[in-house]
């Protein structure tokens, strides 16, 4: 029961993370070059770009870890159905991390290829799908929690 409650909280955090990533990508990469009479110093812009990728990276890892943590919690609480629902995503995360580009530091995204339209589109799609998944599971957990509270 506490488990569900916890998950609610954590998922909010996760959702926020993902939103940030998704929107960030959207905004900065698909921003219409129009009106770019602006002034961003290229070097600054570039550093920002790399930093942004780093932020994304920083967001992605926690997300993976939190998700993994939940799975463990569900396992401990013997919530088999919930665990089953989450296993595919867990497997995907593992696969995704195993097949990441060569990097000396932890992370998923390579600044030199992220601008490739295919990769960018893939990352975005992935972000939205996961967002949907988390949202749905959020309501599912909420329902579970209330159900438990009411019935007890």
């Amino acid at each position: 029961m506490e488990c569900e409650f916890l998950s609610v909280c954590f998922y909010i955090a996760i959702i926020l993370f993902l939103q940030i990533i998704a929107f960030d990508e959207l905004k900065t990469d698909y921003k219409n070059p129009i009106d770019q009479c602006n002034t961003l110093n290229p070097t600054v812009e570039k550093v920002k770009k790399i930093k942004r990728v780093k932020i994304a990276l920083k967001l992605v890892l926690p997300e993976y870890l939190i998700h993994f943590f939940f799975c463990v919690m569900f396992f401990c609480a013997a919530e088999w159905l919930t665990l089953c629902l989450n296993l595919p995503l867990l497997a995907y995360h593992v696969w995704r991390y195993m097949s990441r580009p060569v990097m000396s530091c932890p992370g998923l995204y390579d600044p030199t290829t992220i601008m490739n339209a295919d990769i960018l589109a893939y990352c975005q799609k992935e972000g939205w799908c996961k967002l949907a998944f988390y949202l749905l599971s959020f309501f599912y957990y909420l329902y579970g929690m209330i159900y438990v509270l009411v019935s007890s």
């Binding site: 770019q36 009479c37 002034t39 110093n41 570039k46 790399i50 030199t112």
Partner: protein, 1157 residues
Amino acid sequence: MSTAGFNSQNGTGTGQTYANGPSQNPVALQQLPGVSYGMTHQPSYNPMPAKAPPPTGPGLYPSAPYQPVPPVSSYQPGPQITSYPSSPGQPLLPRPPLSGPPSHTPPQSASPSPGPRMPPAQATPPPPAVSSSSYYPSPQQPMAPAWQYNTAPPPMGPPTSISTPPRGPVANHVNPAASLAEPLPPSSAPYSTAPPPRVSQSVTQPPGPGMPPTSMLGYTQPGTAPPPMNPMVPNTYQPGRPAYGPPPTGPSPIGPPPIMKPTPPPTGPPVANTTPPPPKGDAQCGGAVNSTVPPTESDGQEGDIECPGAVAGNGPQASNSYNHVDNKMAGLAQPGPPGRHLGHYPSLPPGYQNASAPHGTSSMHPAMQAAMQPYTQAPQPYQQPPGGPGPAQLSPSLAAMSLQSSTPEALRVVNLLQERNLLPPTPVPAPTPCLPQDLQKINCNPEVFRCTLTSIPQTQSLLNKAKMPLGLLLHPFKDLSQLPVVTSSTIVRCRSCRTYINPFVSFLDQRRWKCNLCYRVNDVPEEFMYNPVSRSYGEPHKRPEVQNATIEFIAPSEYMLRPPQPAVYLFVLDVSHNAVETGYLNVFCQSLLDNINALPGDSRTKVGFITFDSTIHFYNLQEGLSQPQMLIVSDIEDIFLPTPDSLLVNLNECKELVQDLLKSLPTLFGKTMETQSALGSALQAAFKLLSPTGGRMSVFQTQLPNLGVGALQSREDPNQRASAKDIQHLSPATDFYKKLALDCSGQQVAVDLFLLSAQYCDLASLGCISRYSAGSVYYYPSYHHQHSPAQVERFQKDLKRYLTRKIGFEAVMRIRCTKGLSIHTFHGNFFVRSTDLLSLPNVNPDAGFAVQMSIEDNLDDMQVVSFQAALLYTSSKGERRIRVHTLCLPVVSSLSDIFSGADVQAMTGLLACMAVDRSVTASLSDARDAMTNAAIDSLTSYRQSVLTIQQPGLLAPACLRLFPLYILALLKQKAFRTGTSTRLDDRVFAMCQLKYQPLFYAMLMIHPALYRVDDLTDEGALNINERTIPQPRVLQLSVEKLSREGAFLMDTGTVMYLWIGRNCHPNFLTQVLGVPNYAAVPENLYLLPELDTAESQRTRAFVCWLRDQRPFYPSLHVIRDESQLKANFMQNMIEDRTASALSYYEFLLHLQQQISK
């Protein structure tokens, strides 16, 4: 360009920078032989052509009545006349009829009561019409040659035609030159003064055709012609045309005719202009920017235009341009009988080529030239009618309209299984887009900017159906022999998408233009109204910016983030035992000594040296030292700079020390026994040294770095080379080099890598340092100063070119395209900073780029789309410059049109880039399958969607007939072949080259050229610079073409093989090779002896000519049947079967099988 950023700077108060920029520029310009601009002037004439074409209309308007009309006649008829009146729109134009003041009035009134006016206009027109007809031809031709087809430049070639005729005109031109100077003073000096002159001009002009200065005649006449600008306009108006016809100028295809009507007022504007001359320097330049930087753009300054011919590198011709133009002018001036002109010109029009060809453009790229010729003239082979001379004028429309009725040559069905001799005897020409001729004439040179589909499909689904890749291939910084350069305080750009004004925009009226990429309507700034070339006012459409698809701007200070950096060169040299063994240091030091004065740069140029083995050695070259001082840093884990100030020194001040160092360097490490290499640390040190300024780092490495950061391990198992199912280790082993490259890119440092190694060096990892910092990679496998003389020679020549070629610092390139198209992926060496912006710390003239495009929105309502590549860089002289290329292509809605516009070479080049990516991210076999599928898919699509009659066999449209051959060649290319023993580094290097080389050179790598050279004759020979260059035909790459009685030259781009048949004619052996018989041909012959015989001269001239075509130096190997290199030679016989690969015929059968499934 990244417009961004300027403001910030401004804000920060880089005021000084500006001072530099602007002030310098003028000076520089003046120094430059003003020159060239002449050429650009011609543009002014275009107007006429523009008109003409419109009527013909780009097939879109099938209704157009004109098509049937025979070429010549077509002009005179209605459209023209009507068009004439239109010109009134421009104050000057109508001169003869409307002379003087009247001109103004008509236009104004025109808007309200076009009808009435027209009649008079028409009446008058006739005369003009006649004359105009005569002009037509001429205009066309001047344009083309201009610099546009640089390769072709020569028309005016140095030899120059200064012959008598030109003189008169020359005078004229002189004026312009002079004029440039004149106008300038006002601008430069008191700005206030400037306005007055203008006023006066404008006033005077109206009166006339008369034009103030006599000299002007030449210009004015042409100029008077109808407003050129509207190239695109064509048909839209037709209906309205009779009435308003003329105004059409404005008409962008899109622009609704109604708009036009309002436009007439434009004419009014001119008047207005005259009065308000001083009006502000418009805000056009990006409002924000301007506001921030008020000072620079004083209104008074009008753009002075100059053309430092020199810009392009080989600039000699530039000066001539004037004369050349003059000639034309002369011709023009005489309103000779049309007939005569026609007779004369027709041959020229299509071409940019004719003139040029013969004269041989000096040193430039003869090769290119040769290549070019085909484009223009050659339409015959493949091209649609457009190419043809006489009919050419009509052709575009005809071609487009009559597609159904008669199949154009490009779509002629070819049964690949039956036709064996598909190779054209000359280099394969690029197809010409099916555009109205006036547009085509000013379109970007295909050597610079090329698209895989010269007809853009309307929708993505149509593109998917055609199954052909859509992309651009660019060579943006190519050495051009003639390049118009414009200095202007305000660079006219679209306010919303920041597109630079270009020949494909449409002028709605005199004061407004419509962007051809985003369709926003912009104001024409006041300064732009004045045309410094012709010294006329009110003809914005005749400015060079609007007459040239490739142009260079001297950028004002808003385009600087910091003061332009000086040229900084840092050399990082491997001096480990292995390096000393190869002996490259001698060659390097000698080359640098020889070329030290030719390094591009100015008085601020800096150089520095770092050497490394297991430690890092710095050289203190501070002025005042009696000899260079070596500082050794052995702490490679935490690298630091011992004396940060004196390691990079001003080349001019410390030249002697530098020379001392270079002389002593080779001997300094002669006895070293150090075998380790701490490349990673050396790069870090170099990065630290360069990061304050940015610049170029040249790294020479001879072995696998094995110490400190960035150490690598050998990943290649030589035994697996041939047998491995799939090639491993194509991706980097560490991201150290990539991260360092990104840091470098951020600090405007580019790293060029010279790899001279006999062993595995892990180029896949090392190459990243250049790839992401926009450097270049040179690879000399098995380099040794004694054992491989051919490599040494190549290294020397490459170094010379490398050290002396043009260079641009702190560059960015932005590629814009018409709304609806978007950029999918970039290929080449750079860092992608945002979706359409490439960061290029250095840009060099030998770098090519490829861009995959996708169609996001339907292009239904467009007739043409445009692409613009803008490269902002700092020249070695510290000038900020912008080079802009604009390409315009038609949009089509039928599959057959798409197929007829396919550019098979560009497609091959783009596919190669995509395949390289695929083999790194997925696997080599994936990439190979993808390439095969590309051929299958496109041919299947053609068969299913375009072919109406199904016949047996493997059918392809004529324009794609070489596609399967090229795909097979790619499959057998070093980069992608399997089953043959290929060293991993060789493979990776080939991949780098495919992505990085401009298309022209990449094609030689993919499909080498084979010539028979034992029977060279002067028949059909080119004549360049007094040298006769035989032109043997290109043979198919099949052993069946070889014969024991002959000698064959294979040109693979970086290497040439001269294969001597066993029974080769003794005459060839003695006369060319200088040996008595076959057995006496030495094993390692890499030079053709300079014998004083006709055969020898011919052969050497031909080889030399081939070499001159490219920036790198191909080494030549003479091989016999027993030579070791024979295997390499035979591997290039791509049409033959090998143990592991299909022959061409088998490959075709395979395709056919797949297609008929």
